[in-house]
């Protein structure tokens, strides 16, 4: 009996160990996590320490690093290998978890970390061929000496940091999620680039459009989803001469009647108005007489931040800007001679082909009157806490068949269709950025762009010599007009892409007479351009506002450019509001409604955070829009620009009739009904009309943590602007990087992004810049010419020493 008590105690001790050492649901293992000597307590501000020396295996010579007051590393190396090794090492020091998590996401490996909840997401990445595409691109990257050196050295640097970590110094997220980093490989970098390609060009509304066409017919679809959207001021100034002989394109084929599962995929596609802007003004419009370039790419925002600032200096290169953690080089930035920036191109490079399998086992498919074999790729998905899932992905010559007819797809993908996407091709986008980092003139810039394929981007350019330019750049398939707007017939060779538009024929403009170049995701050209690029671009508002402003601005200063990035005037509201107010008599309105109506009438269409009119206009217009397009209950609905044209130019159109009622409704009826509904809904949500309706508070912006871990993001940000204004802020999206570069004799630049250099939530630099970003502040960017250059902005210096 005397062993009963000790047995109970020891058993309890063992149970306590197992309970505290194990993971329960989403709760981290409490023992290791709460251990104040190694758990989350140690993921503290010590990560901000900047040692005078760091031992980094693999370096060929010492590397000097100057740290500025925002912890931006300015790296001075003696050769390219050491430059990119140091970049990988220092980026990983600040951003390792983010780098790895993003590549896990791209590769469809999130289930390894979070369990079966991510399985369908992971499967979708495999079915889209993300790893297959990354492997193909890796071959191209390693075949080029510049990118091979950069990729391999970068991986070496990341791994040097990974090797120096232990359980105590692991980034916080590893402790929360309970896993450890694995070695970095060049494949991870190409996965990261595919991840960006998928974010920017990996969507399509072909299934939804196909379904809508089958319901409404071709003519209505042509009218409501026009190839050239109304009011657009394209990127390439109208009237620009196309100085080339176009490659002939085979004529249009009959539209396919779809046989395959569209599976209710007709939801509204990803908002193309999430918004990015870039522009450059020539010396004739700038107060300095030298060009000024500005860029503010807008993306869904996260913490750790999307970008990481760096200066990279080695023989032949001295460049500064925003890097993508996980990839060598500067993506958006400048050097001593030139500056460049990007916005998403939006042209259609992503097509679904309906596949007719020739046998029940789906080992062959019909093509050109014969059959072709299906190739298979076995994907192994490890799932935390559960058995490994083995998935077979079928590949046709078009590309991977994402989902079979019997399967439930993830997101908005069709079943029974194969994907043809430019990001699947073995291309080397990294070379473009590394060449831009070293560019000294326009010819270097154009040469750098020649190997760039996906995602298609608008590359703006300016140099000290006074040249400004913009290329709508990428690999664009040669297709007949409208090809790829709906599902394509995967059995008919006539639906194949007919090659690619020659790079020299891509839309571009250099030193235009108007003195500026610009892009805001709008259509690249007017309808004189001899090739078909796509139709689903951002609507006119930002592009037109930007061009209107730049056209009248003179003696421009960098401050003017910064202010323009924060412009929150919404052209759509400016144009629509008078037409709506004219149809909303005051009679019958409540006192609060009359006050609100008066505020709308006095409003200048600026989406300021403290204004109350924007939320009401937004709700009013979006309700009217939904009422108008009741014919498209699940549809892709015609966008605001088409609706506005109808309101302004065809107010008696039968499209304003509500199909669900007996009597005919007019635009006036809908406008009044929409106002009542919107006002009532806003009252329910925010209380009586007043301060609580202020745009910044009522709409709000938040920056979530990349893995959606509560507490590690920022919420309740009261921002101005909306999608459709140059300051294209959304609930979860906004300017991911704002940059202005003045190409003076000594280049000067300013920049900011919503976050901070450190990816460690325990760091003071994790979200350091969020409040300044929200306030519209931009920081002067320290651009050093030598490692020992004196500057009050340099707060520390570190030598990276080679170790055997």
């Amino acid at each position: 009996m005397r062993w009963v008590v000790p047995t109970v105690y020891v058993a309890a001790l063992v149970v306590a160990f197992v309970a505290l050492n194990g993971r329960w649901g989403q709760t981290p293992p409490l023992g290791p996590f709460l251990n104040p000597f190694a758990g989350f307590w140690q993921s503290n501000a010590q990560v901000d320490a900047l040692p005078e020396q760091l031992d980094v295996p693999g370096l060929q010579a010492p590397v000097q690093v100057a740290w500025d007051t925002r912890h931006v590393p300015h790296i001075f190396a003696e050769n390219d290998h050491d430059l990119y090794l140091a970049q990988g090492y220092l980026t990983a020091r600040h951003r390792l978890w983010q780098m790895e998590f993003q590549t896990h996401a791209a590769a469809g490996r999130i289930s390894e970390i979070v369990g079966p909840g991510a399985l369908s997401y992971d499967r979708s990445r495999r079915r889209m061929g993300m790893v297959w595409a990354a492997e193909r691109s890796l071959e191209a990257v390693l075949a080029d000496s510049l990118t091979r050196v950069a990729m391999e050295a970068y991986a070496e640097g990341v791994n040097a940091w990974v090797d120096q970590l232990d359980a105590t110094t692991l980034p916080l997220e590893y402790k929360i999620l309970g896993y450890e980093p694995e070695p970095w490989t060049p494949l991870k970098t190409t996965l990261l680039l595919k991840y960006m390609a998928e974010t920017l060009s990996g969507g399509s509304n072909e299934p939804a459009m196909t379904e809508a066409r089958s319901l409404h017919g071709d003519s209505l679809m042509q009218a409501l989803f026009p190839y050239q959207a109304p009011f657009v001021d394209p990127i390439i100034p109208p009237g620009t001469e196309w100085a080339f002989e176009p490659v002939p394109v085979a004529p249009q084929q009959a539209l396919l009647d779809p046989l395959i599962g569209l599976n209710g995929l007709s939801g509204t596609p990803a908002d193309p108005n999430i918004g990015s802007n870039n522009w450059a003004v020539g010396g004739s419009k700038a107060v300095t007489g030298r060009p000024i370039l500005a860029n503010d790419p807008h993306l869904t925002l996260n913490l750790p931040s999307i970008w990481y600032e760096m200066q990279l200096h080695a023989p032949g290169t001295n460049t500064y800007g925003a890097t993508l953690p996980g990839a060598p080089g500067i993506i958006i930035g400048f050097n001593e001679h030139v500056a460049w920036g990007v916005t998403n191109g939006g042209s259609d490079v992503f097509d679904w082909y309906q596949i007719t399998f020739a046998d029940a086992a789906r080992t062959t498919y019909d093509y050109d009157g014969a059959t072709r074999p299906v190739e298979t790729r076995i994907e192994t998905i490890q799932v935390r806490g559960e058995a490994t899932v083995v998935d077979t992905v079928r590949y046709t010559h078009h590309g991977p068949v994402a989902y079979l007819p019997s399967e439930t797809p993830y997101g908005r993908m069709p079943t029974g269709a194969a994907l043809r996407w430019t990001a699947h091709d073995p291309t080397n986008e990294l070379r473009t950025f590394l060449r831009l980092n070293r560019a000294t003139d326009y010819d270097d810039y154009v040469e750098a762009l020649t190997t760039y394929a996906a995602p298609a981007q608008n590359f703006v350019y300016a140099d000290q010599a006074g040249t400004i330019a913009l290329w709508h750049n990428g690999a664009f398939p040669l297709r007949w007009k409208g090809q790829g707007r709906y599902l394509s017939d995967g059995a008919d060779p006539a639906y194949e892409w007919q090659g690619f538009i020659p790079h020299a024929h891509n839309p571009h403009v250099r030193d235009p007479e108007r003195g500026f170049v610009s892009s805001a995701n709008q259509p690249p050209t007017d309808d004189t351009y001899p090739y078909y690029l796509g139709w689903d671009y951002a609507s006119y508002e930002r592009g037109a506002r930007l061009n209107d402003r730049l056209a009248v601005m003179e003696a421009i200063t960098p401050r003017d450019m910064m202010a323009l990035q924060l412009d929150d005037r919404y052209l759509h509201a400016e144009r629509a509001l008078p037409a709506l107010l004219a149809r909303l008599p005051e009679d019958g309105l409540s006192a609060d409604q009359r006050t609100a109506r008066a505020d709308l009438a006095a409003w200048d269409a600026h989406y300021r955070a403290q204004a109350t009119a924007p939320i009401l206009f937004d709700a009013w217009w979006s309700t009217l829009w939904r009422l108008t397009w009741d014919e498209f209950p699940d549809g892709p609905r015609p966008w605001y620009d088409v609706t506005l044209r109808l309101v302004l130019e065809e107010p008696t159109s039968p499209l304003f009739d509500d199909q669900t009622t007996n009597g005919p409704e007019t635009l006036d009826d809908l406008v009044q009904q929409a106002f009542e509904t919107a006002f009532s809904q806003l009252e329910d949500r925010h209380g009586p009309y007043g301060e609580a309706w202020a745009w910044g508070q009522a709409r709000g912006t938040r920056i979530d943590h990349l893995a959606q871990i509560p507490g590690l993001g920022r919420t309740d940000l009261r921002t101005s602007g909306r999608s459709g204004t140059l300051n294209a802020m959304g609930r979860t999206s906004g300017a991911s990087w704002r940059m202005v570069v003045s190409l003076e004799e000594e280049v000067r630049a300013w920049g900011i992004y919503p976050g901070g250099q450190s990816g460690h939530p325990g760091s003071a630099f994790y979200d350091l810049a969020v409040d300044d970003w929200m306030a519209g502040t931009m920081y002067p960017l320290l651009f050093l010419r030598a490692p020992d250059q004196a500057s009050a902005e340099v707060m520390a210096r570190t030598v990276l020493r080679q170790t055997p």
């Binding site: 503290n44 501000a45 590690l712 939530p761």
Partner: protein
């Protein structure tokens, strides 16, 4: 008992500072009391005091210093009002774990030495 607490505290501190293994609080008090203490109540007290004090003390030290930011964020993640709750929970885990460990060691010693004491 005070010596026992101090010895355990010292040994735990050394082991925690030199390794990242959290489970020393379940091992060290057990090892001490299985050798030195047969009274379960005292074993519990030795373990609880050494483990609780060490974990709570270290947590409070970090809370007031380098870990202020990370505890704010982890508190928000856990949905607790104040980061001090995290220090308290850390201390309680240290106290309960080490206390159980000390008690278990003492209980084992008590069983081992039972016959000897009976013979006397």
């Amino acid at each position: 008992m005070l010596i026992g607490i101090l010895l355990c505290l010292l040994l735990l501190a050394v082991l925690h500072l030199t390794t990242s293994f959290w489970g020393w609080i379940l091992i060290v008090p057990f090892a001490y009391t299985v050798v030195r203490e047969h009274r379960v109540g005292r074993g519990l007290a030795i373990g609880a005091a050494s483990g609780g004090l060490l974990w709570l003390g270290m947590a409070l030290y970090l809370l007031m210093g380098d870990a202020a930011l990370v505890t704010d964020r982890v508190a928000a993640m856990a949905g607790v009002e104040t980061p001090a709750v995290l220090a308290a929970v850390t201390g309680v885990i240290g106290l309960l774990g080490a206390g159980l460990s000390g008690g278990a060691g003492a209980a084992v010693r008590s069983a081992l030495t039972h016959r000897r004491r009976s013979r006397r």
